[in-house]
């Protein structure tokens, strides 16, 4: 076997109370593949490797059968029918296909698209590209709690509006948009409603019929499935939605997405959905319990910590907190045996603090100080306790080091200071 792949070596080591370090608490970035998912996938790499489009031999039939079972499982989880599920390479492709596909198909009808400023870049950058091709895009602001104002949405709609694309759950702050109400508004006006439900499917109940969703992006690796596979739900009736393909080729997936199907990945996505259908209710109680425990421990010990986004309309496993007077990257350095994310500019590729937090009206200073905790299926109470202690210790240490904390304690109003860099 070749051993020329070099990766950063890291091994799990023993921590206190039987926990293993480092602790993974970044489940909005990705999740580990559930062992039950992996088990179902494995035969499709080796014995059952057939191309699902091979119609004339047993290898092909086995692949096709597996793909159709996966389609049923996904459809069941979200209340769709099997013919409404298109497989893709992941949520980014699904978002691109949904938005560009609808935009092209309905160009005669109108050229106006509505989205929100807190969307994922896969949606925002796709909309920006369409603007170059003559589409008009409205980027709705959000309220302080991260939610879109339905009146803003109503006002933004006009007779040229063809698509509203608003995410189900935000990847940074976990805020759940009122997607059923958004869908209703769209249906009343004959506008197509797409939702990027990457973070929501498998975590909170989604029903495309009851919740008036027309097109929906799904990802496997956010719900304990493999990376590199996703799906797009496209409604077939009342209304029937049509989308133009963005990848041309062999006409797979009823012409909407050409390319040989990733059978093992699709099997994994299907199994992940089957597990979610069975376990979501119980799991979300478990996650919310752990999340609230983490929140209460941190807020019970530290002053001047702020929760970003609504606590009421939120994914059960998400907590996004700003620790005033402490910069996010230095906080991450101090808790380097815990894997979480920060909205600090220093941790982003663009060197800009989180645009999502800025959209909530969080000042840049607090955006730099934010940490996103993503609690998942495999986190334990002992891990949460360890994380809370480590975070609090590190924040306390860094505040001792912080000139801003010192000034605030002396009663200086930091907003009134004339900073040299401004």
């Amino acid at each position: 076997m070749s051993t020329d792949v070099k990766a950063t070596a890291f091994e799990l080591r023993e921590g206190p109370n039987g926990i293993k370090l480092p602790i993974y608490m970044d489940n909005h970035a990705t999740t580990p593949v559930d062992p039950r998912v992996l088990e179902e996938m494995l035969p499709y790499f080796t014995d059952k490797f057939g191309n699902a489009a091979s119609r004339n031999h047993a290898f092909g039939w086995a692949g096709e059968e597996a793909v159709e079972l996966a389609r049923e499982r996904i459809a069941k989880l979200v209340g769709a029918t099997t013919k409404e599920i298109i497989f893709t390479s992941g949520a980014t492709e699904s978002d691109n296909l949904a938005i560009k596909g609808v935009a092209e198909m309905y160009r005669e009808k109108g050229n106006h698209i509505i989205t929100a400023v807190t969307e994922h870049k896969a949606v925002l950058d796709t909309c920006k590209r369409l603007e170059k091709y003559g589409y008009r895009v409205t980027y709705l602001p959000v309220q302080k709690d991260g939610l879109v104002d339905l009146d803003d949405l109503k006002r933004a709609m006009d007779d040229k509006t063809i698509l509203v694309t608003i995410m189900a759950a935000n990847n940074e702050i976990g805020v759940l948009q009122p997607w059923a109400e958004i869908g209703k508004l769209c249906h009343e006006r004959g506008v197509i409603f797409h939702t990027d439900a990457t973070q929501a499917v498998g975590k909170v109940p989604v029903d495309v019929v009851k919740q008036n969703i027309d097109v929906m992006s799904i990802s496997a690796h956010k719900m304990y499935g493999p990376k590199g596979v996703g799906a797009l739900y496209v409604r077939r009736k009342s209304p029937r939605v049509q989308i133009s393909p963005i990848i041309d080729g062999g006409g797979h997936e009823r012409g909407m997405r050409s390319g040989t199907l990733n059978v093992p990945g699709i099997v994994g996505l299907g199994k992940a959905c089957a597990i979610a259908t069975e376990e979501m209710a119980k799991e979300s109680c478990h996650l919310a319990g752990l999340r609230n425990r983490l929140k209460d421990k941190i807020m019970g010990r530290l002053d001047e910590v702020y929760i970003n986004g609504s606590m009421e309309h939120r994914l059960p496993g998400n907590l996004n907190i700003s620790f005033a007077y402490v910069e996010g990257e230095s906080l991450l350095m101090g808790i380097n045996d815990i894997a979480v994310s920060s909205g600090s500019a220093c941790t982003s590729a663009t060197l800009e603090p989180s645009y999502v937090l800025k959209a909530l009206g969080t000042g840049d200073d607090l955006a730099h100080s934010s940490i996103r905790f993503g609690i998942g299926r495999f986190n334990t109470e002992a891990e949460v306790d360890y994380v809370a202690d480590r975070v609090c210790e590190t924040v306390e240490r860094l505040r001792e080091l912080s000139p801003l904390y010192e000034m605030a304690k002396e009663g200086v109003d930091l907003k009134s200071v004339k900073w040299a860099a401004e």
Binding site: Y325, V326, E327, E329, S330, M333, G334, S344, A345, C346, L351, P353, G363, D364, D365, H368, E400, L401, S402, P403, L404, Y405, E406, L414, W419, A420, A421, E422
Partner: protein, 143 residues
């Protein structure tokens, strides 16, 4: 991003953390950066008025690990130097010492600015005190 051992060392064991009396005439205070930009450094020096040697230095920094390390290193370097020697410290020397990657060069620039700002503040105070001393008895300095 991987940090150099020296950055990690300064981050874990920062040197000269704390504050000096900013009202003392021997003390110069530099406060640079802005919270909105994610970096604020406060660097203070205590200068012997007869030798111009920096006898003590303290810092506090809000910022990433590289910003903390840059300011911690800056306090180590200025201690024992005359103010003129301290003014000669260049950010590129900090970059080299800490092996800072290109995206962190601004941390070293800020540390150099902090040294300059602290020395400037001290000089301004010293000038004020000298003028006051030179002024005839009973006449208040007007500023």
């Amino acid at each position: 991003m991987a940090y150099s051992d020296k950055v990690l060392d300064h981050y874990s064991n920062p040197r000269n953390v704390g504050s000096l009396d900013k009202n003392s005439t021997d003390v110069g205070t530099g406060l640079v950066g802005a919270p909105e930009c994610g970096d604020v450094m406060k660097l203070q020096i205590k200068v012997n008025p007869s030798t111009n040697i920096i006898e003590d230095a303290k810092f506090k920094t809000f910022g990433c690990g590289s910003a903390i390390a840059s300011s911690s290193l800056a306090t180590e370097w200025v201690k024992g130097k005359t103010v003129d020697e301290a003014l000669a410290i260049k950010n590129t020397e900090i970059v080299k010492e800490l092996s800072l990657p290109p995206v962190k060069i601004h941390c070293s620039v800020l540390a150099e600015d902090a040294i300059r700002a602290a020395i400037h503040d001290w000089k301004k105070k010293k000038q004020g005190a000298d003028e006051k001393a030179a002024a005839p008895a009973g006449v208040q300095a007007s500023h």
